[in-house]
Amino acid sequence: MKPQLIFIAAPLSAALVSTGFAVTYLTPTQAQEAIFPGQKFTPFSFALTDPQRKAIEEKSHVRLTDTPPSVWRVGNGGWFIIDKVIGKHDFITYAVGLTAEGAVRGIEIMDYRESYGGQVRDPKWRVQFTGKTKHDPLKLDLDIKNISGATLSSRHLTDGVRRVLALHDVALH
């Protein structure tokens, strides 16, 4: 008989996310190396004029936020951009690499966080499971990064990438 799947119920306090379900995948330097291995990166300063902001929003159908993306010029003529998108429940920092011609060379998620505010679950749940297992799911929480069950849609990240492409069109030369 093969070992069976074991389910360890969580106590009320084992919130996936209100304690901050968050993963950091890559630092800026690691993301640069992942998309453009072996290249040199030079920070690129820019300021958008109002007509440029308007043009980017019109091209991408996405609003610009108050924090502009960070941009680097890549040794091979490409561009490396770090941007953030904020969804209903998730916050994502991501990096986009563009070729000199402005085509997407790579997208890497740098960090991902889910946040749902302070929802409180039915207290009956706690009564039912507290003390039912000698395992301590809270301890496991520290290094558990896997979640089964649909994650959120990546649509607003796709929107963010469209905004980066519009930024390149309008302001990165």
Partner: protein, 264 residues
């Protein structure tokens, strides 16, 4: 044990976030494994994304009423599994969409070609994510990864000698964990109507899955993914089908304890 390095990467693919976590003997194997793993996922997306008019599935949906359409072997594998799950579940799992259509309206020949008997659309979205996970696991293993996990929006598979702990989302409150399972050399998928529109029973068209989630562990993720929909629709009657696939499943309903779908 020889030393190894670990890392995780995530990319937006399959309309969700695909995460690959790997252990590898050195940096160059790790880098290569991430690359081929994400390429495999992107290839499944290219073939089976029905929102992309250029995908193979879109091409099939446009043409298969008029003529036989040959499929890539990956798409054909997913379609054959879909048909077999439909047959085993009496149509509770059904990849066809359209008024009055069912899985019986697909004519499939052994050479990998398909034709529709009536107007319908094929939607492999219910299991393509699971298949993508399997292809990525194959690819990263071949590239030399020792252990790890591939998670495509909640459909996942662990491989190698390292047990992986997995949170199951609470069916009423997906921002919270209902509990954890530990997985080793096995795939796990959970279905519920958390963020997506409701799921439907292929037989009646009735919505299922509100406030309920089904979690299935199986040897591969394609099977696990398909069996979640069957478990939600058939509940305890799914036990026989699960056993045939060497799979285990439980339902989480509201705040109740897990209901295991086992043969009595």
């Amino acid at each position: 044990m020889s030393p190894c390095i670990k890392a995780r990467r995530a990319r937006p693919l399959l309309g969700t976030f695909v995460e690959i976590g790997l252990s590898a003997p050195n940096e160059s194997i790790l880098r290569r494994a991430f690359a081929v793993g994400f390429i495999a996922i992107a290839e499944v997306q290219r073939l089976m994304n029905r929102h992309d008019p250029a995908s193979e599935i879109s091409r099939l949906n446009r043409a298969a009423l008029q003529r036989k359409v040959s499929l890539h072997r990956w798409t054909f594998t997913v379609l054959r599994t879909a048909q077999s799950l439909a047959s085993e579940s009496g149509g509770a799992f059904d990849a066809t969409r359209g008024p009055g259509s069912s899985w019986r309206d697909l004519l499939i020949d052994d050479a990998g070609a398909v034709r529709f008997r009536r107007p319908l659309k094929l939607d492999l979205g219910g299991i393509a994510k699971g298949f993508a996970v399997d292809r990525a696991v194959d690819a990263v293993r071949k590239a030399g990864a020792i252990a790890g996990i591939v998670n495509a929006g909640g459909d996942l598979r662990a491989f190698g000698d390292e047990p992986q702990s997995i949170h199951i989302r609470h069916p009423l409150d997906p921002g919270h964990s209902a509990g954890t399972v530990v997985l080793r050399e096995r795939a796990l998928a959970t279905s519920a109507a958390y963020f997506a529109p409701a799921l439907f029973d292929g037989r009646s068209g009735a919505p299922i899955g509100n406030g309920v989630s089904a979690t299935v562990a199986a040897p591969d993720c394609l099977t696990a993914d398909g069996l979640t929909k069957i478990s939600l629709a058939l509940e305890t009657e799914a036990a026989r089908i699960l056993a045939r696939h060497d799979a285990e499943a439980f339902l989480l309903r509201g705040n109740s304890s897990p209901c295991w779908l086992r043969r009595q």
